[in-house]
Protein backbone atom coordinates (compact mmCIF):
# COMPACT_ATOMS: atom_id res chain seq x y z
CA UNK A 1 0.00 0.00 0.00
CA UNK A 2 1.52 3.28 -1.10
CA UNK A 3 1.09 5.93 1.60
CA UNK A 4 3.27 8.71 0.23
CA UNK A 5 3.57 9.98 -3.34
CA UNK A 6 6.40 12.36 -4.15
CA UNK A 7 5.42 14.38 -7.20
CA UNK A 8 7.69 16.67 -9.16
CA UNK A 9 6.18 20.13 -9.35
CA UNK A 10 6.58 20.06 -13.14
CA UNK A 11 4.57 16.85 -13.32
CA UNK A 12 1.92 17.83 -10.78
CA UNK A 13 -0.64 19.08 -13.29
CA UNK A 14 -0.13 16.40 -15.93
CA UNK A 15 -3.03 14.03 -16.63
CA UNK A 16 -0.69 11.17 -15.70
CA UNK A 17 0.06 12.48 -12.20
CA UNK A 18 -3.54 13.49 -11.61
CA UNK A 19 -4.73 10.04 -12.68
CA UNK A 20 -2.25 8.29 -10.39
CA UNK A 21 -3.12 10.47 -7.39
CA UNK A 22 -6.82 9.86 -7.92
CA UNK A 23 -6.18 6.13 -7.68
CA UNK A 24 -4.39 6.44 -4.31
CA UNK A 25 -6.75 8.77 -2.45
CA UNK A 26 -5.35 8.06 1.02
CA UNK A 27 -1.76 8.87 0.14
CA UNK A 28 -0.01 12.06 1.21
CA UNK A 29 1.30 14.06 -1.74
CA UNK A 30 4.73 15.57 -1.24
CA UNK A 31 5.71 18.12 -3.89
CA UNK A 32 9.37 17.85 -4.90
CA UNK A 33 11.62 19.90 -7.18
CA UNK A 34 13.32 16.99 -8.93
CA UNK A 35 12.78 13.25 -8.69
CA UNK A 36 16.51 12.76 -8.28
CA UNK A 37 16.34 14.51 -4.88
CA UNK A 38 14.41 11.53 -3.53
CA UNK A 39 15.65 8.70 -5.72
CA UNK A 40 19.37 9.40 -5.36
CA UNK A 41 19.64 10.22 -1.65
CA UNK A 42 22.72 9.02 0.20
CA UNK A 43 22.78 5.77 2.22
CA UNK A 44 19.34 4.48 1.26
CA UNK A 45 18.22 1.01 2.32
CA UNK A 46 16.88 -0.63 -0.84
CA UNK A 47 15.40 -3.69 0.84
CA UNK A 48 13.65 -1.68 3.53
CA UNK A 49 12.22 0.71 0.97
CA UNK A 50 10.93 -2.19 -1.15
CA UNK A 51 8.94 -3.38 1.86
CA UNK A 52 7.64 0.11 2.69
CA UNK A 53 6.71 1.28 -0.73
CA UNK A 54 6.37 4.92 -1.80
CA UNK A 55 5.90 6.31 -5.28
CA UNK A 56 7.82 9.04 -7.05
CA UNK A 57 6.25 10.68 -10.10
CA UNK A 58 8.81 12.62 -12.09
CA UNK A 59 9.76 14.11 -15.43
CA UNK A 60 12.56 12.40 -17.32
CA UNK A 61 14.87 15.04 -18.75
CA UNK A 62 17.50 12.54 -19.90
CA UNK A 63 17.12 9.74 -22.41
CA UNK A 64 14.43 7.11 -22.32
CA UNK A 65 15.88 4.68 -24.85
CA UNK A 66 19.09 2.72 -24.48
CA UNK A 67 20.74 -0.05 -26.44
CA UNK A 68 19.97 -3.47 -25.00
CA UNK A 69 22.48 -4.80 -22.52
CA UNK A 70 24.89 -7.59 -23.46
CA UNK A 71 23.46 -9.51 -20.53
CA UNK A 72 20.02 -9.62 -22.12
CA UNK A 73 18.96 -11.52 -25.19
CA UNK A 74 17.22 -10.16 -28.23
CA UNK A 75 15.57 -13.39 -29.45
CA UNK A 76 16.88 -13.03 -32.98
CA UNK A 77 16.37 -9.28 -33.47
CA UNK A 78 18.95 -7.25 -35.44
CA UNK A 79 18.63 -4.23 -33.23
CA UNK A 80 17.72 -4.31 -29.60
CA UNK A 81 16.72 -1.38 -27.43
CA UNK A 82 15.19 -0.97 -24.08
CA UNK A 83 13.12 1.86 -22.89
CA UNK A 84 13.05 2.99 -19.28
CA UNK A 85 10.19 5.21 -18.15
CA UNK A 86 9.49 3.52 -14.81
CA UNK A 87 11.83 1.95 -12.31
CA UNK A 88 11.31 -0.74 -9.69
CA UNK A 89 8.31 -3.02 -9.45
CA UNK A 90 5.97 -4.54 -6.91
CA UNK A 91 7.64 -7.95 -6.98
CA UNK A 92 10.51 -8.76 -4.68
CA UNK A 93 12.52 -11.30 -6.67
CA UNK A 94 15.67 -12.40 -4.91
CA UNK A 95 17.74 -12.38 -8.10
CA UNK A 96 16.54 -9.04 -9.49
CA UNK A 97 19.37 -6.89 -10.87
CA UNK A 98 17.53 -3.72 -9.89
CA UNK A 99 18.54 -4.15 -6.25
CA UNK A 100 22.16 -3.92 -7.37
CA UNK A 101 21.62 -1.18 -9.95
CA UNK A 102 19.30 1.30 -8.28
CA UNK A 103 19.93 3.39 -5.19
CA UNK A 104 16.27 3.51 -4.17
CA UNK A 105 13.66 0.80 -3.75
CA UNK A 106 10.76 3.21 -4.30
CA UNK A 107 8.66 3.05 -7.42
CA UNK A 108 9.53 5.75 -9.93
CA UNK A 109 7.20 6.60 -12.82
CA UNK A 110 7.74 9.27 -15.43
CA UNK A 111 4.82 11.41 -16.50
CA UNK A 112 6.17 12.74 -19.82
CA UNK A 113 5.41 9.72 -21.99
CA UNK A 114 4.92 11.92 -25.08
CA UNK A 115 8.64 12.72 -24.92
CA UNK A 116 9.33 9.02 -24.56
CA UNK A 117 7.31 8.07 -27.65
CA UNK A 118 8.96 10.84 -29.68
CA UNK A 119 12.37 9.48 -28.76
CA UNK A 120 11.32 5.92 -29.58
CA UNK A 121 10.06 7.02 -33.01
CA UNK A 122 13.53 8.36 -33.86
CA UNK A 123 15.25 5.15 -32.82
CA UNK A 124 12.84 2.84 -34.62
CA UNK A 125 13.70 4.35 -37.99
CA UNK A 126 17.19 2.94 -37.69
CA UNK A 127 16.62 -0.77 -37.23
CA UNK A 128 15.17 -3.51 -39.38
CA UNK A 129 14.17 -6.40 -37.19
CA UNK A 130 13.92 -4.54 -33.93
CA UNK A 131 13.14 -5.53 -30.38
CA UNK A 132 12.09 -2.76 -28.03
CA UNK A 133 11.82 -4.00 -24.46
CA UNK A 134 9.70 -1.64 -22.40
CA UNK A 135 9.55 -3.30 -19.02
CA UNK A 136 12.98 -4.42 -17.90
CA UNK A 137 13.35 -1.92 -15.05
CA UNK A 138 9.78 -2.45 -13.86
CA UNK A 139 6.70 -4.60 -14.33
CA UNK A 140 4.34 -2.18 -16.06
CA UNK A 141 1.80 -4.92 -16.68
CA UNK A 142 1.44 -5.64 -12.96
CA UNK A 143 1.03 -1.91 -12.32
CA UNK A 144 -1.35 -1.30 -15.24
CA UNK A 145 -4.20 -0.47 -12.88
CA UNK A 146 -2.17 2.39 -11.44
CA UNK A 147 -0.17 3.77 -14.36
CA UNK A 148 -1.90 2.62 -17.56
CA UNK A 149 1.41 2.26 -19.41
CA UNK A 150 0.38 -0.93 -21.26
CA UNK A 151 -2.58 0.87 -22.79
CA UNK A 152 -0.26 3.71 -23.83
CA UNK A 153 2.16 1.29 -25.50
CA UNK A 154 -0.70 -0.55 -27.13
CA UNK A 155 -1.96 2.73 -28.60
CA UNK A 156 1.56 3.55 -29.76
CA UNK A 157 2.01 0.08 -31.27
CA UNK A 158 -1.25 0.44 -33.16
CA UNK A 159 0.15 3.42 -35.02
CA UNK A 160 3.26 1.51 -36.04
CA UNK A 161 3.11 -0.17 -39.38
CA UNK A 162 6.53 -1.71 -39.32
CA UNK A 163 7.28 -5.25 -40.13
CA UNK A 164 9.85 -6.79 -37.85
CA UNK A 165 9.15 -4.54 -34.90
CA UNK A 166 8.43 -6.11 -31.54
CA UNK A 167 7.49 -4.04 -28.52
CA UNK A 168 7.85 -6.45 -25.64
CA UNK A 169 6.01 -6.09 -22.34
CA UNK A 170 7.50 -8.53 -19.85
CA UNK A 171 5.69 -9.45 -16.66
CA UNK A 172 5.24 -11.87 -13.79
CA UNK A 173 1.62 -10.89 -13.27
CA UNK A 174 -1.24 -13.31 -13.85
CA UNK A 175 -4.09 -10.79 -14.10
CA UNK A 176 -5.91 -11.41 -17.37
CA UNK A 177 -8.03 -8.28 -17.46
CA UNK A 178 -5.12 -6.01 -18.40
CA UNK A 179 -4.85 -7.88 -21.70
CA UNK A 180 -8.31 -6.62 -22.59
CA UNK A 181 -7.04 -3.06 -22.40
CA UNK A 182 -4.55 -3.70 -25.21
CA UNK A 183 -5.04 -4.15 -28.93
CA UNK A 184 -3.44 -7.05 -30.79
CA UNK A 185 -4.23 -5.86 -34.32
CA UNK A 186 -0.83 -4.29 -35.03
CA UNK A 187 1.04 -7.51 -34.35
CA UNK A 188 3.75 -5.35 -32.86
CA UNK A 189 2.96 -5.73 -29.18
CA UNK A 190 4.19 -8.95 -27.60
CA UNK A 191 3.57 -10.07 -24.03
CA UNK A 192 6.28 -12.08 -22.36
CA UNK A 193 5.55 -13.96 -19.17
CA UNK A 194 8.61 -14.52 -17.10
CA UNK A 195 8.28 -18.00 -15.58
CA UNK A 196 10.26 -20.40 -13.48
CA UNK A 197 9.53 -23.62 -11.66
CA UNK A 198 6.71 -23.30 -9.13
CA UNK A 199 9.25 -24.01 -6.37
CA UNK A 200 11.52 -21.19 -7.54
CA UNK A 201 8.56 -18.81 -7.77
CA UNK A 202 7.49 -19.68 -4.25
CA UNK A 203 10.96 -19.31 -2.81
CA UNK A 204 12.54 -16.54 -4.82
CA UNK A 205 9.77 -14.42 -6.32
CA UNK A 206 7.67 -13.05 -3.45
CA UNK A 207 4.76 -10.75 -4.27
CA UNK A 208 4.40 -12.12 -7.80
CA UNK A 209 1.66 -14.25 -9.32
CA UNK A 210 1.83 -18.05 -9.05
CA UNK A 211 2.95 -20.06 -12.06
CA UNK A 212 -0.51 -21.30 -13.00
CA UNK A 213 -1.92 -17.76 -13.11
CA UNK A 214 0.92 -16.58 -15.37
CA UNK A 215 0.48 -19.48 -17.78
CA UNK A 216 -3.30 -19.01 -17.80
CA UNK A 217 -2.81 -15.34 -18.62
CA UNK A 218 -0.38 -16.30 -21.40
CA UNK A 219 -2.96 -18.71 -22.85
CA UNK A 220 -5.60 -15.98 -22.61
CA UNK A 221 -3.38 -13.49 -24.46
CA UNK A 222 -2.77 -16.07 -27.20
CA UNK A 223 -6.51 -16.60 -27.51
CA UNK A 224 -6.90 -12.83 -27.88
CA UNK A 225 -4.50 -12.86 -30.83
CA UNK A 226 -1.40 -11.44 -29.16
CA UNK A 227 2.12 -12.58 -29.77
CA UNK A 228 3.17 -14.32 -26.58
CA UNK A 229 6.61 -15.27 -25.33
CA UNK A 230 7.93 -16.98 -22.26
CA UNK A 231 11.16 -16.09 -20.52
CA UNK A 232 12.82 -18.83 -18.50
CA UNK A 233 15.55 -16.39 -17.89
CA UNK A 234 17.22 -16.46 -15.47
CA UNK A 235 17.04 -20.20 -15.02
CA UNK A 236 17.80 -20.85 -11.37
CA UNK A 237 19.40 -24.19 -10.57
CA UNK A 238 19.99 -24.23 -6.86
CA UNK A 239 20.37 -27.30 -4.71
CA UNK A 240 18.65 -30.56 -5.48
CA UNK A 241 15.29 -30.84 -7.19
CA UNK A 242 15.64 -28.07 -9.77
CA UNK A 243 15.36 -30.50 -12.69
CA UNK A 244 12.06 -31.91 -11.46
CA UNK A 245 10.84 -28.36 -10.91
CA UNK A 246 11.58 -27.37 -14.51
CA UNK A 247 10.12 -30.66 -15.77
CA UNK A 248 6.86 -29.82 -14.02
CA UNK A 249 6.95 -26.29 -15.43
CA UNK A 250 7.29 -27.68 -18.96
CA UNK A 251 4.49 -30.16 -18.28
CA UNK A 252 2.26 -27.24 -17.23
CA UNK A 253 3.06 -25.39 -20.46
CA UNK A 254 2.35 -28.55 -22.44
CA UNK A 255 -0.92 -29.20 -20.60
CA UNK A 256 -2.24 -25.82 -21.75
CA UNK A 257 -1.37 -26.60 -25.34
CA UNK A 258 0.45 -23.32 -25.83
CA UNK A 259 4.01 -24.57 -26.42
CA UNK A 260 3.65 -24.68 -30.22
CA UNK A 261 1.97 -21.28 -30.44
CA UNK A 262 4.56 -19.26 -28.60
CA UNK A 263 6.43 -16.57 -30.47
CA UNK A 264 9.65 -17.33 -28.62
CA UNK A 265 10.99 -18.85 -25.43
CA UNK A 266 14.07 -17.17 -23.97
CA UNK A 267 16.33 -19.25 -21.80
CA UNK A 268 19.54 -18.39 -19.98
CA UNK A 269 21.42 -19.11 -16.79
CA UNK A 270 21.47 -16.61 -13.96
CA UNK A 271 23.94 -13.79 -14.62
CA UNK A 272 24.45 -10.33 -13.22
CA UNK A 273 27.15 -7.64 -13.21
CA UNK A 274 29.59 -8.62 -10.46
CA UNK A 275 29.30 -5.19 -8.83
CA UNK A 276 25.55 -5.64 -8.49
CA UNK A 277 26.07 -9.07 -6.93
CA UNK A 278 28.13 -7.52 -4.13
CA UNK A 279 25.31 -5.10 -3.36
CA UNK A 280 22.74 -7.92 -3.53
CA UNK A 281 24.67 -9.87 -0.91
CA UNK A 282 24.34 -6.87 1.37
CA UNK A 283 20.70 -6.14 0.51
CA UNK A 284 19.34 -9.69 0.39
CA UNK A 285 21.41 -11.62 2.91
CA UNK A 286 18.68 -14.18 3.49
CA UNK A 287 18.48 -15.35 -0.10
CA UNK A 288 20.80 -18.16 -1.20
CA UNK A 289 20.97 -16.88 -4.79
CA UNK A 290 23.56 -14.11 -4.30
CA UNK A 291 25.72 -16.57 -2.35
CA UNK A 292 25.80 -19.32 -4.97
CA UNK A 293 29.12 -20.04 -6.71
CA UNK A 294 29.70 -17.91 -9.80
CA UNK A 295 32.50 -17.26 -12.24
CA UNK A 296 33.20 -13.63 -13.04
CA UNK A 297 33.76 -13.19 -16.76
CA UNK A 298 34.18 -9.71 -18.21
CA UNK A 299 32.66 -8.14 -15.12
CA UNK A 300 29.63 -10.44 -15.17
CA UNK A 301 29.00 -13.06 -12.50
CA UNK A 302 27.49 -16.15 -14.06
CA UNK A 303 27.22 -19.89 -13.56
CA UNK A 304 30.42 -21.72 -14.44
CA UNK A 305 30.27 -22.52 -18.17
CA UNK A 306 29.87 -26.25 -17.60
CA UNK A 307 26.94 -25.73 -15.26
CA UNK A 308 25.32 -23.13 -17.51
CA UNK A 309 25.38 -25.44 -20.52
CA UNK A 310 24.13 -28.36 -18.46
CA UNK A 311 21.24 -26.37 -16.99
CA UNK A 312 20.10 -24.62 -20.17
CA UNK A 313 20.36 -27.74 -22.31
CA UNK A 314 18.42 -29.75 -19.78
CA UNK A 315 15.62 -27.19 -19.72
CA UNK A 316 15.67 -26.72 -23.50
CA UNK A 317 15.15 -30.45 -23.92
CA UNK A 318 12.25 -30.37 -21.47
CA UNK A 319 10.74 -27.45 -23.40
CA UNK A 320 10.91 -29.47 -26.62
CA UNK A 321 9.79 -32.81 -25.29
CA UNK A 322 7.37 -31.90 -22.51
CA UNK A 323 6.07 -28.46 -23.51
CA UNK A 324 6.06 -29.01 -27.28
CA UNK A 325 8.03 -25.84 -28.06
CA UNK A 326 9.60 -26.07 -31.54
CA UNK A 327 13.40 -25.92 -31.55
CA UNK A 328 13.52 -22.75 -33.67
CA UNK A 329 11.51 -20.82 -31.08
CA UNK A 330 13.91 -21.55 -28.23
CA UNK A 331 16.54 -18.85 -27.82
CA UNK A 332 19.48 -19.61 -25.57
CA UNK A 333 21.47 -16.79 -24.07
CA UNK A 334 24.97 -16.95 -25.47
CA UNK A 335 27.75 -15.04 -23.77
Amino acid sequence: MIDIVYVEKEAMNTPFAKGVLEKIPGAVTVPIDRWEDVFYRKKQDYALQKKNRKLIVGVNRGGFVMEGSDNCQSAGADSFYYCSFAKNCIGGCDYCYLQGMLRSGYLLAFANMDDCFREVEKVLNKGKKTLLAVSYDNDIYALEGLFGYVKMWSDFAKKQNRQGLTIEVRTKCGTKSFIDRADSSSGVLAFTWSVSSAENIRRFEPQTSPLAARLDAAAYALAKGFRVRLALDPAIALGSGWKEGYDRLCDEIGARGIGGRLDAVMLGGFRIPADYLKIMRRNAPNSPIPFDSYDVIGGTACYPKEKEIYVTEYIAEALRSRAGVPQDRIFLFDR
Partner: protein, 295 residues
Protein backbone atom coordinates in the same frame (compact mmCIF):
# COMPACT_ATOMS: atom_id res chain seq x y z
CA UNK B 1 20.99 3.47 19.85
CA UNK B 2 18.34 6.15 19.63
CA UNK B 3 19.94 9.59 19.56
CA UNK B 4 17.65 12.49 20.37
CA UNK B 5 18.91 15.87 19.22
CA UNK B 6 17.49 19.20 20.34
CA UNK B 7 18.64 22.79 20.19
CA UNK B 8 17.72 23.65 23.78
CA UNK B 9 17.99 21.79 27.06
CA UNK B 10 14.36 22.66 27.69
CA UNK B 11 13.39 20.58 24.66
CA UNK B 12 15.31 17.52 25.85
CA UNK B 13 14.50 17.76 29.56
CA UNK B 14 11.52 15.39 29.56
CA UNK B 15 13.20 12.42 27.77
CA UNK B 16 16.38 12.98 29.79
CA UNK B 17 14.38 12.56 32.99
CA UNK B 18 12.04 9.82 31.73
CA UNK B 19 14.77 7.69 30.14
CA UNK B 20 17.12 8.36 33.09
CA UNK B 21 19.87 9.73 30.88
CA UNK B 22 22.99 10.89 32.67
CA UNK B 23 25.16 13.73 31.44
CA UNK B 24 28.46 12.52 30.05
CA UNK B 25 31.19 14.48 31.84
CA UNK B 26 34.67 15.22 30.57
CA UNK B 27 33.84 14.34 26.99
CA UNK B 28 35.66 16.24 24.25
CA UNK B 29 32.49 17.62 22.70
CA UNK B 30 31.18 21.13 22.08
CA UNK B 31 27.67 19.97 23.05
CA UNK B 32 25.92 18.55 26.11
CA UNK B 33 25.53 14.79 25.83
CA UNK B 34 23.30 12.56 27.97
CA UNK B 35 23.32 8.75 27.80
CA UNK B 36 21.39 5.89 29.36
CA UNK B 37 23.41 3.32 31.25
CA UNK B 38 22.47 0.57 28.78
CA UNK B 39 23.56 2.81 25.84
CA UNK B 40 20.15 2.41 24.18
CA UNK B 41 19.35 6.11 24.32
CA UNK B 42 21.29 9.35 24.11
CA UNK B 43 20.31 12.99 23.97
CA UNK B 44 22.46 15.72 22.52
CA UNK B 45 21.76 19.42 23.07
CA UNK B 46 23.52 21.27 20.27
CA UNK B 47 22.45 24.90 20.80
CA UNK B 48 20.37 27.02 18.44
CA UNK B 49 21.09 27.83 14.81
CA UNK B 50 22.27 25.88 11.80
CA UNK B 51 26.00 25.92 12.56
CA UNK B 52 25.52 24.54 16.07
CA UNK B 53 23.09 21.92 14.76
CA UNK B 54 25.45 20.76 12.02
CA UNK B 55 28.70 20.78 13.98
CA UNK B 56 27.13 19.49 17.19
CA UNK B 57 25.35 16.62 15.44
CA UNK B 58 28.47 15.60 13.52
CA UNK B 59 30.60 15.72 16.67
CA UNK B 60 28.11 13.76 18.79
CA UNK B 61 27.46 11.07 16.17
CA UNK B 62 31.20 10.62 15.66
CA UNK B 63 31.74 10.33 19.41
CA UNK B 64 28.87 7.83 19.74
CA UNK B 65 30.06 5.81 16.73
CA UNK B 66 26.64 6.08 15.06
CA UNK B 67 25.99 3.75 12.14
CA UNK B 68 23.45 1.47 10.49
CA UNK B 69 20.76 0.39 12.93
CA UNK B 70 20.90 3.59 15.01
CA UNK B 71 18.17 6.23 14.90
CA UNK B 72 18.55 10.01 14.92
CA UNK B 73 15.54 11.89 16.23
CA UNK B 74 15.45 15.65 16.01
CA UNK B 75 12.90 17.33 18.26
CA UNK B 76 12.10 20.98 18.75
CA UNK B 77 9.58 23.74 18.67
CA UNK B 78 8.54 25.26 15.36
CA UNK B 79 6.36 28.03 14.00
CA UNK B 80 3.54 27.07 11.66
CA UNK B 81 2.60 28.82 8.43
CA UNK B 82 -0.79 30.53 8.43
CA UNK B 83 -3.81 28.35 7.70
CA UNK B 84 -1.73 25.31 6.82
CA UNK B 85 -3.55 22.90 9.08
CA UNK B 86 -1.10 23.07 11.98
CA UNK B 87 -2.16 24.60 15.30
CA UNK B 88 -0.28 25.39 18.49
CA UNK B 89 0.35 22.15 20.37
CA UNK B 90 0.22 19.95 17.26
CA UNK B 91 3.04 17.51 16.64
CA UNK B 92 4.27 17.42 13.05
CA UNK B 93 6.59 14.83 11.56
CA UNK B 94 8.93 16.10 8.88
CA UNK B 95 8.53 14.55 5.42
CA UNK B 96 10.37 17.30 3.59
CA UNK B 97 13.07 19.58 4.88
CA UNK B 98 14.15 22.74 3.08
CA UNK B 99 16.48 25.68 3.61
CA UNK B 100 17.46 28.56 1.41
CA UNK B 101 20.43 27.65 -0.75
CA UNK B 102 20.31 23.97 0.23
CA UNK B 103 18.96 20.96 -1.63
CA UNK B 104 15.76 19.72 -0.04
CA UNK B 105 16.06 16.57 2.05
CA UNK B 106 13.38 13.91 2.39
CA UNK B 107 13.60 11.62 5.43
CA UNK B 108 11.95 8.26 4.82
CA UNK B 109 8.68 7.70 6.66
CA UNK B 110 9.09 4.01 7.42
CA UNK B 111 9.21 3.51 11.17
CA UNK B 112 6.56 4.69 13.61
CA UNK B 113 3.36 6.65 13.17
CA UNK B 114 3.01 9.47 10.74
CA UNK B 115 1.49 12.14 13.00
CA UNK B 116 0.77 15.10 10.69
CA UNK B 117 3.34 15.04 7.91
CA UNK B 118 4.77 18.47 7.23
CA UNK B 119 7.45 20.37 5.40
CA UNK B 120 9.90 21.98 7.78
CA UNK B 121 11.79 24.98 6.45
CA UNK B 122 14.96 25.82 8.30
CA UNK B 123 15.34 29.60 8.48
CA UNK B 124 17.95 31.96 9.89
CA UNK B 125 15.38 33.97 11.80
CA UNK B 126 11.68 33.59 12.35
CA UNK B 127 10.06 35.11 9.34
CA UNK B 128 7.05 34.82 7.14
CA UNK B 129 6.70 31.41 5.54
CA UNK B 130 3.85 30.15 3.46
CA UNK B 131 2.67 26.67 2.61
CA UNK B 132 2.41 25.59 -1.04
CA UNK B 133 -1.01 24.14 -0.32
CA UNK B 134 0.00 20.48 -0.58
CA UNK B 135 1.67 20.03 2.77
CA UNK B 136 1.38 21.74 6.14
CA UNK B 137 4.50 23.79 6.74
CA UNK B 138 6.45 25.00 9.75
CA UNK B 139 9.74 26.79 10.33
CA UNK B 140 12.62 25.97 12.62
CA UNK B 141 16.24 27.06 12.84
CA UNK B 142 18.23 23.82 12.81
CA UNK B 143 16.67 20.79 11.15
CA UNK B 144 18.06 20.96 7.62
CA UNK B 145 21.63 21.22 8.87
CA UNK B 146 21.21 18.62 11.61
CA UNK B 147 19.90 16.19 8.97
CA UNK B 148 22.74 17.02 6.57
CA UNK B 149 25.26 16.10 9.25
CA UNK B 150 23.36 13.02 10.44
CA UNK B 151 22.98 11.70 6.86
CA UNK B 152 26.76 11.30 6.74
CA UNK B 153 26.32 8.51 9.30
CA UNK B 154 22.79 7.20 8.83
CA UNK B 155 20.38 6.53 5.98
CA UNK B 156 17.18 8.53 5.42
CA UNK B 157 15.12 5.75 7.04
CA UNK B 158 16.89 6.45 10.33
CA UNK B 159 16.44 10.23 10.31
CA UNK B 160 13.30 11.44 12.03
CA UNK B 161 12.10 14.85 13.11
CA UNK B 162 9.14 15.75 15.29
CA UNK B 163 8.19 19.37 15.77
CA UNK B 164 5.73 20.73 18.27
CA UNK B 165 4.05 23.88 17.04
CA UNK B 166 4.64 26.67 19.54
CA UNK B 167 3.69 29.74 17.48
CA UNK B 168 2.92 30.98 14.00
CA UNK B 169 5.84 32.01 11.82
CA UNK B 170 3.82 34.83 10.45
CA UNK B 171 3.90 38.56 10.34
CA UNK B 172 0.14 38.68 10.26
CA UNK B 173 -0.48 37.00 13.59
CA UNK B 174 -0.03 39.32 16.53
CA UNK B 175 3.39 38.48 17.98
CA UNK B 176 3.06 35.25 15.98
CA UNK B 177 0.87 33.99 18.79
CA UNK B 178 4.15 33.42 20.63
CA UNK B 179 4.03 31.83 24.08
CA UNK B 180 6.14 32.68 27.11
CA UNK B 181 8.88 30.28 28.25
CA UNK B 182 6.77 28.60 30.89
CA UNK B 183 3.98 27.91 28.40
CA UNK B 184 6.50 26.53 25.89
CA UNK B 185 7.89 24.22 28.55
CA UNK B 186 4.40 22.92 29.28
CA UNK B 187 3.78 22.43 25.55
CA UNK B 188 7.07 20.57 25.07
CA UNK B 189 6.44 18.36 28.07
CA UNK B 190 2.95 17.49 26.81
CA UNK B 191 4.36 16.67 23.36
CA UNK B 192 6.94 14.34 24.83
CA UNK B 193 4.24 12.43 26.70
CA UNK B 194 2.84 11.49 23.29
CA UNK B 195 6.24 10.98 21.72
CA UNK B 196 7.93 8.74 24.27
CA UNK B 197 5.75 5.69 23.51
CA UNK B 198 6.17 6.54 19.83
CA UNK B 199 9.94 6.50 20.16
CA UNK B 200 9.80 3.09 21.86
CA UNK B 201 7.71 1.86 18.92
CA UNK B 202 10.05 3.36 16.34
CA UNK B 203 13.03 1.82 18.11
CA UNK B 204 11.44 -1.65 18.20
CA UNK B 205 10.38 -1.51 14.55
CA UNK B 206 13.83 -0.39 13.48
CA UNK B 207 15.62 -3.08 15.53
CA UNK B 208 13.43 -5.76 14.01
CA UNK B 209 13.90 -4.46 10.45
CA UNK B 210 17.66 -4.15 10.73
CA UNK B 211 18.04 -7.53 12.46
CA UNK B 212 16.36 -9.25 9.51
CA UNK B 213 19.07 -7.88 7.27
CA UNK B 214 21.91 -9.38 9.26
CA UNK B 215 23.89 -12.31 7.82
CA UNK B 216 25.25 -14.50 10.56
CA UNK B 217 26.33 -18.13 10.27
CA UNK B 218 25.06 -20.35 13.10
CA UNK B 219 27.61 -20.15 15.91
CA UNK B 220 28.82 -23.77 15.63
CA UNK B 221 29.28 -23.43 11.86
CA UNK B 222 31.04 -20.11 12.36
CA UNK B 223 33.54 -21.66 14.75
CA UNK B 224 34.17 -24.57 12.39
CA UNK B 225 34.55 -22.15 9.49
CA UNK B 226 37.12 -20.09 11.38
CA UNK B 227 39.08 -23.20 12.30
CA UNK B 228 39.06 -24.39 8.68
CA UNK B 229 40.24 -20.97 7.47
CA UNK B 230 43.12 -21.14 9.91
CA UNK B 231 43.97 -24.74 9.10
CA UNK B 232 44.07 -24.10 5.35
CA UNK B 233 45.65 -20.64 5.74
CA UNK B 234 42.98 -19.23 3.44
CA UNK B 235 43.38 -15.86 1.80
CA UNK B 236 40.80 -13.14 2.44
CA UNK B 237 39.05 -13.78 -0.88
CA UNK B 238 38.89 -17.55 -0.35
CA UNK B 239 37.52 -16.98 3.16
CA UNK B 240 34.75 -14.89 1.61
CA UNK B 241 34.05 -17.50 -1.08
CA UNK B 242 33.83 -20.23 1.55
CA UNK B 243 31.66 -18.12 3.84
CA UNK B 244 29.24 -17.36 0.98
CA UNK B 245 29.06 -21.04 0.09
CA UNK B 246 28.38 -22.08 3.69
CA UNK B 247 25.77 -19.36 4.07
CA UNK B 248 24.03 -20.45 0.85
CA UNK B 249 24.04 -24.09 1.98
CA UNK B 250 22.59 -23.11 5.37
CA UNK B 251 19.82 -21.17 3.61
CA UNK B 252 18.86 -24.05 1.34
CA UNK B 253 19.03 -26.58 4.17
CA UNK B 254 22.18 -28.44 3.14
CA UNK B 255 24.14 -29.69 6.13
CA UNK B 256 27.62 -28.20 6.13
CA UNK B 257 28.99 -29.26 9.49
CA UNK B 258 30.02 -32.79 8.47
CA UNK B 259 32.15 -31.53 5.62
CA UNK B 260 33.84 -28.94 7.84
CA UNK B 261 34.54 -31.59 10.48
CA UNK B 262 35.99 -33.86 7.79
CA UNK B 263 38.41 -31.17 6.65
CA UNK B 264 39.39 -30.43 10.24
CA UNK B 265 40.06 -34.15 10.68
CA UNK B 266 42.59 -34.28 7.85
CA UNK B 267 46.10 -34.54 9.25
CA UNK B 268 48.70 -31.90 8.46
CA UNK B 269 50.71 -34.49 6.50
CA UNK B 270 47.80 -35.12 4.16
CA UNK B 271 47.22 -31.42 3.46
CA UNK B 272 48.77 -29.95 0.32
CA UNK B 273 51.74 -27.79 1.20
CA UNK B 274 51.52 -25.11 -1.49
CA UNK B 275 48.89 -22.39 -1.98
CA UNK B 276 47.53 -23.78 -5.26
CA UNK B 277 47.22 -27.23 -3.82
CA UNK B 278 45.27 -25.91 -0.84
CA UNK B 279 42.94 -23.94 -3.12
CA UNK B 280 42.25 -27.10 -5.11
CA UNK B 281 41.68 -28.97 -1.85
CA UNK B 282 39.22 -26.28 -0.75
CA UNK B 283 37.32 -26.48 -4.03
CA UNK B 284 37.17 -30.25 -3.99
CA UNK B 285 36.21 -30.68 -0.34
CA UNK B 286 34.06 -27.67 0.44
CA UNK B 287 33.08 -25.60 -2.58
CA UNK B 288 31.75 -28.36 -4.79
CA UNK B 289 27.99 -28.66 -5.09
CA UNK B 290 26.49 -31.36 -2.99
CA UNK B 291 22.93 -31.44 -4.28
CA UNK B 292 23.50 -34.21 -6.83
CA UNK B 293 21.68 -32.31 -9.60
CA UNK B 294 24.68 -30.32 -10.68
CA UNK B 295 27.41 -31.24 -13.13
Amino acid sequence: MVIIQTALYLEAKTPIEYLKLREAKNVPLPVRLFCSDDKRFAAVVTGTGSLNACAGTAAALTYLGAGRGDLFINFGIAGAADDCGLCIGDIARCVKCTAEGERPFYPDIIFGSRFKLAEIETVKKVTDISSDGCLPKAADMELCHAFSAANMFLGPESLISYKVISDYASKTAENGGRLDEKAVETLVSAAWKKLLPEIEKVSEEASSAFEKNARELPSEVLTLYENVCEKLSLSYSNREILKNKLWKDCLIGVSVKDRLYEVLGVSEDELPKDKKGREAFLKERLLCESGGDNP
